[in-house]
């Protein structure tokens, strides 16, 4: 037997970096957060995912101590910090709106948290060199913020927060003001940095692709409540309800009216077609059958020759996306999105009749009224 020599991570013996219990907060009559509770393990990257107004920033501010909760507790490494001042919480917070010292160089900006604490000059230099090479901003260390690009300023702000080694980093949409390209590049670096430092990150974002790319664990917020806690992949594969399925994935999941007819050889009627043989879905649907809403990811639909296709429709829109294309098709019953190879999309123009088959795989089913996942 091979020995696993990786360092042990025993969450149950060492207290979590952060534990939030029953946190609620209202602003006036509006409840911003409603009984939130979750745990952020030491050394993990946990993401708060939700659209604007879901409660992400409020959660971060309560954890940082910038606002007081109406009820609930914030516990760090086993110590209740709910009553502590922000400065006594051993937390660094990184916002999207970056406030750098305008009259200080990149180096002085990054070094400032250490300089203030009177660290050794050589220590400071080593740390700044390390952080700035990871963030690829060595070339701006001697420059003032006004001569830096937006992306460079953002990375200097990140560097300044990362140079300290607090028990917890709170990152509020840290990449949202960057170029699309830089954002994708930097999020991988952010994750690497977090691993290398062994730091604990709690990152808030409205961008599901960012959440999937970086998260060990995703906490999905909606209207001030937690709706799902899951790993990145299961958030996509196993959404808890219709809204979660719609929020995660691009192009958006196809949500279509469907009827399950167990008596009719287990046929599922959807998009004007009667489809048999979707066995995995059939097995988990309620035995009695009836109407439901089927969730089909765009990659689970494929073009087929008309004579061999279950669903017939017309092309409504072709959106090239590089190596892939998104096809939107319509018939009397439904509108559907498919992701296909760009080569095969090129043969299709708006108005073309096309045939479509559903791939029996990870199909989802939701209650038509409540939107709760039923299979």
């Amino acid at each position: 037997m091979e020995l696993d020599l990786k360092p042990l991570r025993i969450g149950s013996i060492f207290p979590a970096a952060l534990e939030v219990c029953g946190l609620s907060k209202a602003f006036g009559k509006n409840a911003a957060l409603n009984d939130i509770g979750f745990t952020v393990p030491e050394g993990s990257l946990t993401v708060l995912l939700g659209s604007a107004g879901a409660g992400k920033t409020t959660t971060l501010r309560l954890i940082a101590g910038l606002d007081r909760p109406d009820s609930g507790r914030v516990v760090m490494r086993g110590c209740d910090v709910t009553a502590l001042e922000p400065k006594d919480r051993d937390i660094a917070m990184i916002f999207d709106n970056l406030a750098l010292y305008p009259d200080k160089t990149g180096f002085a900006n990054i070094a400032s948290p250490l300089s203030i604490r009177g660290a050794e000059k050589s220590d400071i230099e080593n740390r700044v060199a390390q952080i700035s090479s990871t963030l690829r901003i060595a070339h701006v260390l001697n420059r003032l913020p006004k001569t830096m690009s937006g992306g460079e300023r953002q990375r200097v702000a990140l560097g300044r927060a990362l140079i300290r080694k607090p028990g917890l980093f709170l990152l509020d949409e840290p990449l949202s003001s960057l170029d699309a390209m830089l954002r994708i590049e930097l999020r991988a670096e952010l994750k690497r940095l977090q691993r290398d430092l062994g730091a604990t990150f709690l990152l808030a974002t409205p961008d599901f692709s960012e959440a999937l790319a970086v998260a060990d664990s995703v906490i999905m917020l909606r209207g001030g409540r937690i709706v799902q806690v899951a790993t990145a992949q299961s958030l996509y594969d196993d959404p808890v309800d219709r809204e979660a399925a719609r929020f995660v994935g691009s192009p958006e999941i196809n949500l279509l009216k469907a009827v399950y007819e167990p008596a009719n050889q287990g046929t599922i009627r959807v998009a004007g077609a009667s489809i048999a043989g979707l066995t995995r879905l059939q097995k988990s649907l309620p035995k009695g059958g009836g109407p439901f809403e089927i969730g089909i990811r765009p990659e689970q639909l494929k073009l087929s020759p008309l004579e061999a296709a279950a669903i017939q429709a017309r092309v409504f829109d072709v959106e090239p996306l590089g190596l892939k294309s998104m096809l939107t098709v319509k018939n009397e019953e439904a509108e559907m999105r498919l992701v296909i190879d760009a080569d095969s999309a090129r043969g299709h123009v708006v108005g073309d009749a096309v045939g479509i088959n559903v791939i029996d795989g990870n199909l989802l089913a939701f209650d038509t009224v409540s939107g709760i996942r039923i299979a």
Binding site: G151, D179, A188, V214, S250, L321, G322, A342
Partner: protein, 365 residues
């Protein structure tokens, strides 16, 4: 042959006392009804180019022609180009109708003409029912629609869109992209679309002009540019993630020719590039993340440690590192490896693309 709608001829813009070259001698032409995306990282010169076309900046040298006539020196208001910014310029104290009518009102057009033009544009944008609403009540994508409508009402020869969707939420962006594609096909506008987001460029443009450091690196049909980047910068920019680029040299070992970079040696099948290249010639090997697949150690091109796995739904982007080499591969989510595990990667050599190690230009194969 007809004159192009817009011609950019050896256009330069130098700021300060000649110290900053923002646009460094670019040339391209756009046909009537065509949509061209200017794509590049921030600071590449795309917005300066746009500003010169609009007339907000004067070129240092070179020419800009619309329908064959130079517009350099013509005041912005008389160029007949419409501009829509990312920060939608909509008057929130006015109704949608008043906003749409604004450009014609200040031009002193007759009331009947204005009403007709506004209704035409409102119909085009599906906003007939919102005309009486105060703009302050509209959401982000509707505001952007009004901003575009305000410009369309004046019937510009060329519509210039400067990052028009970047302030919108993801779902609204998708809808607006579809809307813009529909507008293009219905009214055949000539459009220049400035963006740093390649998905927008790919989804809307007939051709993409990739800019870097003030230069035009490549202008090519959208369907071709991802497959055939002709410069290493374009290869490293297009695609998500972009092409893996490995700097190395041509190596020969008897009859076997290959690509070498330190310890890594990849045997290459006979081809013109390989046979005409001399041993030691610097070369850049490009391989798309989509072309790499996981492999067993003995059949793999490179064997290394999985440092990052980034799920993105149906697939995952896997970063594999071996020594100083780092490659990204796109694999199906169901087959993704664990972070920290060791895996091999392999690609069909026919999917390799080669660039000159000296000029960065693509080597024809």
């Amino acid at each position: 042959m007809s004159v192009p709608k817009l011609e950019i001829i050896n256009l330069r813009k130098v700021f300060g006392n000649g110290s900053v070259v923002a646009v460094d001698g670019i040339d391209f032409a756009i046909e009537a009804g065509e949509t061209v995306a200017l794509l590049g990282p921030s600071g590449c010169g795309k917005s300066t180019t746009l500003n010169m076309i609009v007339g907000l900046e004067d070129p240092t040298s070179g020419d800009i022609r619309i329908d064959g006539r130079s517009i350099v020196g013509v005041p912005p208001g008389k160029r007949n180009v419409g501009l829509v910014f990312q920060d939608y310029a909509v008057f929130t104290h006015m109704t949608v109708f008043e906003n749409l009518a604004f450009g014609l009102v200040i031009r002193g057009r007759a009331k009947g003409e204005i009403t007709r033009a506004v209704h035409d544009v409102a119909e085009l944008l599906g906003m007939q029912k919102s005309l009486k609403l105060p703009a302050a009540e509209l959401g982000g994508s509707e505001l952007q629609r009004v901003a575009i409508g305000r410009t369309l009402v004046t019937k510009p020869a060329i519509l210039l869109l400067d990052e028009p969707l970047s302030n919108l939420e993801a779902s609204a962006r998708l809808a607006m992209r579809r809307e813009l594609r529909r507008l293009q096909s219905e009214i055949g506008l000539t459009i220049i679309y400035v963006t740093h987001d390649q998905i927008e460029a790919l989804s809307l443009a007939d051709r993409i002009a990739v800019m870097n450091a003030g230069k035009l690196q490549q202008i090519e049909r959208t369907s071709v540019i991802c497959e055939k980047p002709d410069h290493v910068f374009v290869a490293g920019f297009m695609g998500s993630p972009p092409m893996n680029l490995l700097r190395g040299e041509i190596a020969r070992d008897g009859a076997i020719t290959g690509f070498r970079r330190e310890d890594l040696f990849i045997q290459l099948p006979p081809s013109e590039i390989v046979s005409s290249g001399r041993a030691g010639q610097p070369i850049i090997l490009g391989v798309r993340p989509e072309s790499l697949r996981l492999a067993l150690a003995d059949e793999s091109m490179i064997f290394g440690k999985v440092t990052i796995v980034e799920p993105r739904g149906p697939e995952a982007v896997v970063t594999v590192e071996a020594g100083a080499i780092s490659l990204k591969a796109v694999v199906l989510a169901s087959g993704r490896p664990q972070e920290g595990s060791n895996v091999g990667l392999v690609a069909d050599p026919s999917s390799f693309v080669f660039f000159s190690g000296e000029t960065g230009r693509r080597l024809a194969s």
